[in-house]
């Protein structure tokens, strides 16, 4: 129980830290990193929630959700990076 609380709690703290960084820092790249840290926090919480006690198979549904979430986060990050690079190019030219 303690380990589960520490793991999930760490996820919640990561989420809040990412949210703070997302709101406070202006550069797009930092906002993107902050968003990814928030996402990492949510994955932490989901994995912690899947725990059902020692020697019991963990709940596979949150695990599958995390797997799906990672792929979506990666694709969104890649698209955002290219959009940011394009924005920078336009600003440099204009």
């Amino acid at each position: 129980m303690t380990a589960q609380f520490l793991y999930g709690g760490a996820g919640l703290i990561l989420f809040v830290l990412g949210l703070w960084s997302f709101l406070v820092h202006a550069p797009l790249l930092r906002k993107l990193i902050a968003l990814n840290i928030m996402g990492g926090g949510v994955f932490h919480v989901l994995i912690a929630v899947a725990y059902r006690g020692d020697g019991v198979t963990p709940d596979p549904v949150p695990h599958a959700l995390v797997l799906t979430g990672i792929v979506v986060a990666v694709s969104a990050t890649a698209l955002a990076l290219v959009l940011g690079a394009r924005l920078q190019d336009e600003q440099r030219q204009g």
Partner: protein, 256 residues
Amino acid sequence: MTEPADWARSDRARERARDLSLLLAVLLALLGVVLLAVYFLALNGGAAPRLAELALARVPQSGVGNPVTAVLVNYRAYDTLVELAVLLAAVLGIWSQRPAPPGFQRSSAVLAGMVSWVVPLLIVTSGYMLWVGGYAPGGAFQAGALLGAAGVIVRLAGDPTAGLPGEAVQRWLLVLGVLMFALVGLALMLLGAGFLTYPPKLAKWLILLIESAATIAIGTALAAAYVGGRPSAKGQGPSAGEASAAPSSSSLGPRP
């Protein structure tokens, strides 16, 4: 405007920004405490009903032994289908933004030699991951991530295409995951089962088919996303038109 006024204004703006970030920090710390408290209460509130029992009880009928794979490709197959579509949409968005930027300089002999060992190993490991996903941790996403990593390494070592084939072939590889998923679903519908409702006898092979297609599509999409732009016709280099797997390693072998 005089200079002192400018100074005062920027000072005031800076102070305001600092106050704002301090206020945000306090508010978010409070949010963190509330979240932790709720989480603690939820953990101590006793076991709530879960999907786990239902999911684990039906694993023998799902065609795979690994419950996570069963959830991903069988019970919640729609999730995975749409997720592959998200990945495809991201690559289409990236391609619409700009042509692929030039890659890195051709690597030295030591790095090229290492890459020509690592990339084939990654491809073999990816195939293992795909197969083992049927009954143990693994599956299409892990296998696709390994393929994507192979592409990243190939591009870092100086191949601007990341070992991917030309644009026409790449398009087919990218849609392969969604296409196979949808075709299997529609074929099952025609046979009288529901969309993506696998009959238990065929489930294993249908899932393997879908996962193989998904692995190739995910690997291609991740490598294409890392290239970061639409492949240009002239930037194709020597590996244009080759398949992504084996030739990418052979094209990186020791060069004269």
